[in-house]
Amino acid sequence: MKRIWATYIKEWHLMRRDLGGLSLLFLMPVLLISIMALVQDAPFKDYKNRKFEALIFDQDQGKISQAIQKGLEESGQFTLIRQHQNQALDSMTILSEIKAGKYQLAIMIPKGVSSEIYNSANLIANEMGKHMGIPGSLPHREAREGINIQIVFDPVSKPAFRIAIVNALEKFTTRVQFDIIMDRISALSGQADTSKKLDIEKQLRSVGVKEMQLHQQSSGIEKSNSVQHNVPAWAIFGMFFMVIIISENMIAERKGGSWNRLKSIPGPFFHLLMGKMLFYVLLGCVQFALMVLVGVYAMPLLGLDALQLGQAALFLPFIVISIASCATAFGILVGTVFKTTSQALPVAAVSVVILSAIGGIWVPLEVLPDSLKVLSVLSPMRWSLEGINTLLLRQGSLSDLLMPVSVLMLLSAAAMWMAWYTERKQSGLV
């Protein structure tokens, strides 16, 4: 125990004088977290939380176009623009404005849309009346083809966005059509008493589709947002950068001869590795804690959401210690296998970057192609992130942590064993 503690103290003295190493471990992840959270803020944001400017070119001026405009405005997501430079819009300006990327969409309602809807409503009402034995006929003509409400999207807008808008517009028009049909039917049957009319709106929504939140009561963390993804992800990445520091230190130790001096002192060498491990695991925990503080207090200063912790964050130490152990063990392995820093550093840096990429650090795992998803099982970062998401996003319990924690501990043990084996091989014991 004294030997472990002595090694711990030694590592502390070495670390506190290593400004380069400290900034790599603390400054770099803070920068990464801030920049990545900012960069990825937009793609992560739901369309719900954004406001769009939509151009409206209304040549119809009828009931239908009123309904559409009312519907869009009531949703609160659209600012409708009806004029361009104090001039009424026309299709030419609309197309050029959209092309220039100034607006996300334009809605063009051609002349005759309302009358076409009335016509088709009359047709339907007549047809229904016939079936119900209500005599009479509302004026109608043949339906005209090709009168459509047109939407123009900015070419860069995402398919999901386009679908959402088209659906919304179709919903508005259907509702108006339904309204008119009901009107017509009451007119046919001679009941002009509108006070008894059904609240169509309400009835149409009697069965709807509604999204349920998984954790309504606990903390209101429902969805991954940029901060919620990037803070843990880059904190993990930063913790794995310890691999570089540890391997560099170990190689310097060996080159300088301290390694041999350590080995010429009686007592198990494994104590010294334990002391090293203890120090770096604690350092990793401090790193993570700092990143959490940055997430909670610094992110809002950048105009982003604050990192939400929730109650399950109480279990964070379990997963964070496992992550730090894994990073440390990996560093000890690299520091044992390679003899020079010029070999070890590129290997350490590149492998951390690659493992992060397939582990879902750069972009969420779900976005990765299937082949990489399979590979990600091998990445300690994947299990690290999964463990943290279990707590921060899914509000999981201790038993949900079992899998990621065991995988990380297993990987640490495997790395330590390989380091130990390599060391013994080098000193001619196996």
């Binding site: 004294k2 300088g256 001869g257 041999n260 001096r261 010429s264 009686p266 007592g267 001619g428």
Partner: protein, 244 residues
């Protein structure tokens, strides 16, 4: 104190053995010199004696114990001063010594005074809190020796302790070795500085290309081979070919 017979060591992937059927012994309580040109196998031999190299053939006994069987016990009684400065350059001298001392299991109550006494003995007391990287070459060498004295070894092995050291530091080191020997401890040191060895050692072994060339007390060897000093004897025995 040391008995070696038929020692043979070939590194993995090496073409020739670095130590080739070497046999010698040094009596207890003497200052012994292991001499030879560069690449003769001095460092390899010392590493085997101190248990750092474990793959070799032949028999090696240190302080009456087989190195393979009693490695831990020997380590406790042995001090080894490597050729390199085996200290953490970013730690101060005191921090280095404290660390190594604690690894030996020396309790803080005795470790503190011991460190101060050794620093004083080597003229480093004033510089004890300076980081090693700020030390001069001679200071580094002295600190390197102190770190190997913490367990007060009965046998001190030094690998070229005076190579590249200024005259004052060298003088201090040599004086220390004499004193330490007079205190009843054995010393084995390697060098290629033959006049130094001639003056210091009671017993020398000259090796070349991993093989023993000659062993005995310097005075006797010089007399027997009718040369004026150890250097001439050395050249006579190992030849004039320049070594890499």
């Amino acid at each position: 104190m040391i008995r070696v017979s038929g020692l043979y060591k070939k590194y993995d992937h090496a073409e020739f053995p670095s130590v080739d059927h070497l046999s010698f012994s040094f009596p207890e309580g003497c200052i012994a010199g292991l001499l030879g040109p560069n690449g003769a196998g001095k460092t390899t031999t010392i590493s085997i004696l101190s248990g750092l190299i474990k793959k070799y053939s032949g028999e090696v006994e240190v302080m009456g114990m087989d190195v393979k069987k009693h490695a831990e016990e020997i380590k406790g009684k042995l001090g080894i001063v490597p050729q390199q400065i085996a200290l953490y350059l970013n730690l101060s001298c005191r921090e280095n010594l404290r660390y190594y001392g604690r690894l030996y299991g020396i309790p803080p109550i005795t470790l503190g005074p011991l460190i101060e006494q050794l620093l004083k003995r080597f003229g480093l007391q004033e510089h004890g809190d300076k980081q090693i990287r700020h030390y001069s070459g001679g200071m580094k060498r002295r600190a390197n020796i102190i770190a190997s004295l913490l367990n007060q070894p009965a046998l001190l092995i030094l690998d070229e302790p005076t190579a590249g050291v200024d005259v004052q530091s060298r003088n201090m080191i040599l004086r220390f070795l004499k004193e330490y020997n007079e205190e009843g401890n054995s010393i084995l040191y390697t060098s290629h500085l033959l006049d130094e060895a001639e003056a210091l050692c009671q017993e020398v072994l000259i090796i070349d290309q991993g093989q023993g060339v000659i062993q005995g007390s310097p005075a006797k060897l010089i007399q027997e081979h009718q040369t004026d000093n150890l250097e001439n004897l050395f050249l006579k025995l190992t030849g004039f070919r320049v070594r890499d």
